[in-house]
Subunit: 647 residues, 2 copies
């Protein structure tokens, strides 16, 4: 069963004391989405300026999701490019009212990215892969869940402009394979209709082996006529039930998942076959590029997992149909606290692309540690790929600006679950909120987003805005400080990925080695090593090729560096590791101190909840500090220059 | 369900071709045990010399378990100190017949150790903790199993003189707590009666918190009158059902198990309370000394797990009642491939003691690797404690020779399960067989035991005896060679304990650290370190105190040693580590080569089974070699002197 208690998160409007009529006039013919818009205004009645008339209008010339708001002396006009635009306008108006307040005048907004999606890694049994916020609110015990919580979820998503949701885990196992069949479609439709009334399209992750597992075929070869026939029929059934269905997300030939490789076919063969089936209905195939050899031998120093995505997909550029999108993780590895941007961005020029980031804090503290990810995502989005002379950033590419594409955008692995506060850590909700806001407008600053979220969630007290703002904005760097240094990544406990284990993956099959010795650490990825740096366009390739020009925060991602190497500020690499690890723990101590001064400003329940997570974070950060420092001390037997305790 | 197919192991007698009468005359009044003796003779009819009369006699003056066999021209007389002695005589006769053959004359035997027990770590759900041979044949799904397999098990045990069996895991959880109650006693009695007919007493592991979990009390304080009353009543019920019940095995205050510490009581308080309840019925309390702090902080270099057993129990010497036995693991840590003998042997002088060894190969290859443990156990048994001037070995102490005790002996954690061949690896049965034989007579050599077992199991072909004998006798040393060096122990994967992981426990809570750095490895346990060496009596204490006099195979158990330290043969420690790891893998390669030359001498099924385990062993041994060598190479950057490949 889905937990029944949940909170309103950033949509906790002031409760109307009395019955409180909102004077709304709706000009276009009312549809489900406009119904939601009006309903939202009614819920937020107490937040609205008294006595002002609200007009909802439509302008067919605009982008469907765009809106304009005009505030006059006696009325407010929300004009949208469609019902959805109007709904976004309503949420935009309410956000403005609750954060900055309203003055007369007008402003317009339209989203920069066509697709702004959440990927839920929810399993059909109700567990969530890499879920840190309780159980799924979509599935339980092989059943689809639907209720008031689903609606609250849809409101939260729509309020920040999320317009697509993949309900189930990319690892499609057991009964989840059946989600595309008549057995589950009526239940999926119920969710899909609700989400659609909030402007959100529903997608499903599919099992590439479904023709075998469900269709009774002996192969799932994408060029086999029976297989094609299977998918065609299945798609037909699906769209008969859910006409506005979004499409499929596919993890193929990855970490044990089936795919076209089995039959000597390419990813283009696989994706295009599905795309042809979906095309008549306007459906999309979102095909993940997370393909690498996960049975590497640690003795093999030639294979470099970082190369795998580019090596697999760059040769296929231009071969995918227009309704196929390649979904690319932000970095070449796997959502580490620090990675370079995937060289596929800039590598692909004739392929629709979607950036995948991870709001679920798999490697960034699992929602026990606070780690506000917007600054990380902004760095990724603003990375210049040099694929063109201008408009060449990741943000430009995925928004369609670079190549004029429309099937493109950004998605995040969701960090939600059925916990009362939705995200386990109260402060982790800032990543959900922030993802939506950033996907809508990548120009928003990390500070702006944080402040919006704080005010909407906790109110507008200046002190709280300052303290929580500082905690959020320093949190990513703090986490990076006390965990694995300078882009080396990993050093986590295998399998669950929480807490330090410096050699946890060092002799394993996952291709994530740091190869530390008594003198140096890191995998050389320049031309003297695996050659990964050359996958970037110039001048990035040259920048990463050389130790001196590699941005220091990525030094150990690209190069093998001796501990006595002097960084730009004169410190040795070793001393830098010590310093950052002591500093990171101190940052957490300061967070706790500062947070405790806000006791009176937050309700008891949330204060206790956050404090208990911060306390757990401090303990874990201390463990990280000590284990990392000890590890390098044992290799070098060089004490800390400042005489601090290393065990 | 218990697997239905099983093999006869070392009791695979020649099948009688025709109905084959054995002329047996039984002089004492026939009881259940004598019935088994005659039954066994009938089963082995084809093995017996044709036409000789067999007399079964009893001599009341002898030790009950002793027997004498006189072989005359026309008859064989087996005289026992009791029915059980006669049964042992029958098994002794059959063993002699099937190994050396029979000549006229007589010989006598009596067991050196009063208690010769197996501890099964079988859980009531049917799983086996550290079980590598399938599921339990005593329990399944909270039910007690009983059938023909139970009888085969009893015959195998009795044939090697095992006279006590603990049915259930020392970690008594869930429904296993209820085994001592009316709910399970009728089923336990069924097993108990069968075992008793083979001279085996049945014991149960009990949950020290039973008064709380079952008795509805709020405490399990051993001095609380209600708690005492609970155990008294429970014992009464138990003995009413099973009059010859052996007693309780208790793991208290150990690895999370409940115990007297909770109530500020000592282990003596706890054990004696139970002992008083059991005393009227002749029952025993076997109390485990495996007590240590399993929540240690790796930063804490003062606490030494090796010290814990002695520190906890030596001060209690003399405080235990006569029907209490302390069960002491062979080493101070936990069944590693190489440990010194526990200093409790020789430390305790007024306490009944039982040596606990582990036939289940938890840390010695999990019955995938062949590891014949008799040589290890013999080293332990022959260790001189210097507690007295003579008769001071571990064997002397546990047999009662040193202090004249009778409640003492030896036990092994069983390596059995419901696999067809009982022990997963066919060759692992040699440890079960050998344990019984060694417990009966610690003077038997490892070679003798191995050869007996080979002939009884595979037949008497000289080539097979030579090849399998070599494999068995070299196997422990080979395993030691390619795993953790010179007594340092651990370096295994946490939790399941299979395969290498050099830093697997290094930063964990289990107190099993090696603290390797770029220059040295090991925990100093002399007076300059944790002082563990001083827990031994002189001259052992001085021997272990100094690096020069510490036996080299234990060097890294007792001392922190630099890699460039020269061993007695002039090699550096580092080169020794490299050499032994290359050598260990070569030994496995030679085992496989030699074994393959025996293809024609073993039935296909067993040949394939053994070969597949040897192949898996080679793969695992190679991984051990490479990971250990690489680990030390990374610390030292010193290549192998012989230029062999280190990754």
């Amino acid at each position: 069963m889905m937990q029944t208690g949940w909170e309103q998160a950033w949509l906790s409007y002031a409760e109307p004391k009395d019955a409180c009529e909102v004077p709304v006039t709706c000009c276009p013919e009312e549809d489900a989405v406009l119904g939601r818009a009006k309903e939202e205004l009614a819920l937020a009645a107490k937040e609205l300026p008294q006595g002002k008339m609200i007009w909802l209008k439509q302008s067919e010339e605009w982008d469907k999701e765009a809106y304009q708001i005009c505030v006059g002396a006696s009325d407010i006009t929300i004009t949208g490019g469609s019902s959805v635009g109007i709904l976004y306008g309503v949420f935009g108006l309410l956000r403005r009212l609750r954060t900055k307040g309203l003055t007369d005048g007008s402003w317009s907004e339209s989203p920069k990215n066509p697709l702004r999606m959440l990927n839920h890694w929810d399993n059909i049994d109700g567990s969530i892969e890499r879920g840190y916020s309780g159980r799924s609110f979509f599935f339980s015990n092989d059943k689809v869940l639907f209720g008031e919580r689903t609606k609250m979820y849809a409101r939260l998503c729509a309020s920040v402009g999320i317009n697509g949701v993949v309900l189930n885990n990319v690892n499609v196992r057991q009964k989840a394979t059946n989600l595309i069949t008549q057995e589950y479609l009526p239940a999926v439709r119920e969710i899909s209709e609700l989400l659609a009334s909030y402007g959100i399209r529903t997608f499903l992750s599919v099992n590439f082996a479904a023709p075998i597992e469900l269709g009774g075929l002996s192969v799932s070869d994408p060029l086999d006529p029976d297989v094609i026939q299977y998918w065609r029929r299945q798609t037909q059934i699906l769209y008969r039930e859910i006409p506005n269905f979004g499409g499929f997300l596919v993890k193929a030939d990855s970490e044990g998942r089936p795919g076209p490789f089995t039959y000597g076919r390419t990813h283009a063969d696989g994706a295009n076959m599905l795309a042809k089936c979906l095309e008549p209905y306007g459906g999309l195939v979102i095909w993940r590029c997370f393909v690498y050899n996960c049975s590497q031998d640690w003795r093999d120093t030639k294979t470099d997992r970082a190369r795998a995505g580019y090596d697999h997909f760059a040769p296929l550029d231009g071969l995918f149909l227009p309704n196929v999108i390649l979904q690319i993780k932000n970095g070449p590895m796997d959502f580490q606290v620090r990675e370079p941007v995937s060289p596929l961005f800039g590598g692909l020029t004739k392929t629709n692309q979607m950036l995948e980031v991870q709001a679920a804090q798999e490697y960034t503290g699992q929602q026990i540690h606070v780690c506000y990810l917007i600054p990380m995502w902004k760095e990724i989005l603003s990375f210049r790929t040099y694929v063109t002379e201008e408009n060449d950033t990741v943000a430009d590419i995925i928004s369609g600006k670079t190549f004029g594409q429309t099937n493109c955008g950004i998605c995040a692995v969701a960090n939600t679950g059925d916990d009362q506060n939705w995200t386990g850590h109260d402060l982790a909700a800032a990543n959900w909120y922030g993802f939506g806001r950033l996907a809508w407008d990548p120009e928003l600053s990390s500070e702006e987003i944080a402040q919006e979220w704080i005010v909407l969630t906790f109110g507008a007290q200046e002190k709280l805005k300052k303290v929580l703002g500082d905690i959020l904005l320093n949190s990513w760097k703090a986490y990076e400080n006390y965990t694995s240094p300078l882009g080396i990544g990993w050093m986590v406990n295998p399998s669950h990925h929480y807490g330090p284990n410096v050699e946890g993956y060092e002799y394993d099959r996952w291709g994530t080695y740091h190869r530390a010795t008594r003198t140096a650490i890191g995998v050389e990825r320049g031309s003297a090593g695996t050659g990964f740096a050359a996958q970037y366009r110039e001048p990035n390739a040259s920048m990463y090729e050389h130790v001196e020009t590699t941005p220091e925060e990525l030094l150990l991602f690209f190069h093998r560096i001796p501990y006595d190497y002097r960084l730009k500020d004169g410190r040795t690499l070793l001393q830098y590791i010590y310093d950052t690890h002591f500093a990171g723990v101190e940052q957490v101590e300061h967070m706790i101190e500062a947070f405790c001064t806000c006791k009176e400003l937050i309700d008891e329940k949330r204060f206790a909840r956050i404090l208990s997570r911060l306390t757990a974070q401090l303990q874990s950060a201390t463990e990280w500090r000590d284990r990392i420092n000890t590890y390098f001390y044992r290799f070098t037997e060089q004490p800390d220059e400042h005489g601090r305790c290393i065990y």
